[in-house]
């Protein structure tokens, strides 16, 4: 049985191994992803991002519990979790500590948690996150929660990967100017004010609400690197509710307060995406971005094989000594050593 077949048959050990192969970008990992791709595209991908210490891991823990519980979420769904923490820029090592907050999920075979290090990627995810999500999707996890590294303002890769993006805020982190800056708040499909038992929660909520009111809802776009796509044909919007208005929800993740409402909102967003056709649009944009990224890395690595390390070093030396400019160096290298 191939690794991919074992994953499809439901082997957790095979899934764990495959995730390692994907993360290390091995030939086995690539072959399995090729085999599994036809089985992907079914899971609802939910991103959870926000500043460090806003309570993302605790929130993911309780959301997973919610979707596993029949009484609050209907039919229990199998939940996959991918939690990304930063790698050290110096040693490449990492402490992956998100499981500390997820101990309630232990012993449930309908949950699979995998921690991963960002390994030098700067957008809040790791390069292999998307492949690992595909593996979990193919393995039959119906809801996949993707927790980013503690994000500041510009780590917005998650919006490209997820169908539904939660941006988690906590009281006391910033004023209204922070709230109208471009970046992470823009990508929220659902805003969560966690730690809502702390003082200042009204101020945080007010700042977020006024930020949302400054933008006309019809101007909302699917975010894509450097491009803005009209979400919907504005003239075609006749039925109330076809435009998604980003809700703001309060929660206290450590106590499980507000989780049921948040879970329902996540499902409502999924239904909205499916009903409005945005689900397909997002899938298309995501696969396009993935294809572009793969093309780039493949082209670069192919080109690298054609150039000798010596020649590269020589050009770099010339660059350091200011004998040649970076643009000239690129031109020279790409022309196979001709100017």
């Amino acid at each position: 049985m191939s690794l991919a077949e074992a994953v499809l048959a439901g082997s957790r050990l095979a899934l764990a191994r495959l995730l390692t192969h994907i993360e290390s970008d091995t030939t086995e990992g690539r072959a399995a992803l090729v085999e599994l791709f036809a089985h992907t595209g079914r899971a609802h991908l939910v991103g959870v991002t926000g500043a460090p210490g806003t309570g993302k891991s605790s929130l993911v823990n309780h959301l997973a519990l919610h979707f596993r519980t029949q009484s609050t979420a209907g039919v229990p769904r199998r939940v996959g979790i991918i939690a990304v923490d930063p790698s050290s820029p110096f040693t490449g090592g990492a402490i992956l500590g998100d499981r500390v907050r997820m101990r309630d999920l232990s012993g449930d075979s309908g949950v699979f948690i995998r921690s991963m290090a960002s390994r030098g990627s700067l957008g809040g995810l790791a390069n292999a996150t998307s492949g690992m999500v595909q593996a979990m999707d193919a393995a039959g996890f119906e809801l996949i929660l993707i927790e980013t590294v503690g994000a500041g303002q510009a780590e917005v890769d998650i919006a490209r990967l997820a169908h539904t993006t939660l941006v988690v805020e906590a009281p006391g982190l910033g004023d209204e100017i922070q709230a109208i800056k471009a970046g992470i708040l823009e990508i929220a499909d659902i805003l969560v004010v966690n730690k809502a038992d702390r003082p200042g929660v009204e101020n945080t909520e007010r700042a977020l609400r006024s930020m949302l009111q400054l933008a006309h809802p019809s101007q909302r776009r699917v975010w894509h690197p450097g491009q803005a796509h009209p979400l919907l044909d504005e003239a075609a919007v006749t039925v109330e509710g076809e435009i998604w208005l980003t809700p703001i929800l309060r929660s206290v993740a450590t106590e499980g307060t507000g989780i049921t409402e948040l879970g329902m909102e996540i499902d409502r967003h999924r239904n909205h995406l499916l009903a409005s056709g945005e689900w397909q649009l997002r899938e298309r944009l995501r696969l396009e971005a993935e294809l572009d990224a793969l093309l780039q890395t493949t082209l670069v690595s192919r080109w690298r094989q054609t150039i000798s390390p010596n020649e590269y070093r020589q050009v770099l030396n010339n660059l350091v000594e200011r004998r040649i400019s970076p643009w000239k160096a690129v031109e020279y290298l790409l022309n196979g050593g001709q100017t």
């Binding site: 957790r12 764990a16 490449g92 090592g93 402490i95 992956l96 499981r99 101990r103």
Partner: protein, 136 residues
């Protein structure tokens, strides 16, 4: 193909609440370029084995100060084997009486590290144990 990183699970089974030693080791392994999955306090053997499986780690480090190692360690080793994870190297830190160490090693524990151990020793031992497992 990216260089394979050594992944280590650091866990504290049992009921004692002192995790300073576990954190010191986790930090040292991080600084040695390893990816350390830290699970926190009061883990049951089942939780540890499950985490080791999901995270596909190369090694598991257990910190035990409670004196319950003769009960906890065999159980964890058994669960790892039950999950077809016999290749995972298990090392122990904390308070393990000298007379128990040979028995621990006989059970299949890779190394036992008491107070005063130099972290470089642990790092070197893990690297050696993991690379020998990879060759097999």
């Amino acid at each position: 193909m990216v260089e394979k990183k050594i992944r280590v699970l650091i866990a504290k089974p049992g009921l004692d609440g002192h995790d300073r030693g576990a954190k010191v080791v986790a930090r040292a392994l991080r600084d040695a370029g390893m990816e350390v999955i830290y699970t926190g306090l009061r883990q049951t053997p089942e939780m540890i084995a499950e985490a080791a499986l999901q995270e596909d780690v190369d090694a598991v480090g257990l910190s035990i100060l409670s004196g319950a190692h003769m009960a906890l360690v065999p159980r964890i080793l058994e669960l790892l084997r039950g999950n077809q994870q016999e290749h995972v190297k298990v090392f122990i830190g904390g308070i393990i009486p000298n007379e128990d160490v040979p028995q621990m090693l006989k059970m299949g524990v890779t190394g036992v590290y008491g107070p005063g151990t130099i972290t470089d020793q642990i790092i070197a031992d893990i690297r050696r144990a993991v690379s020998s497992a990879a060759v097999q």
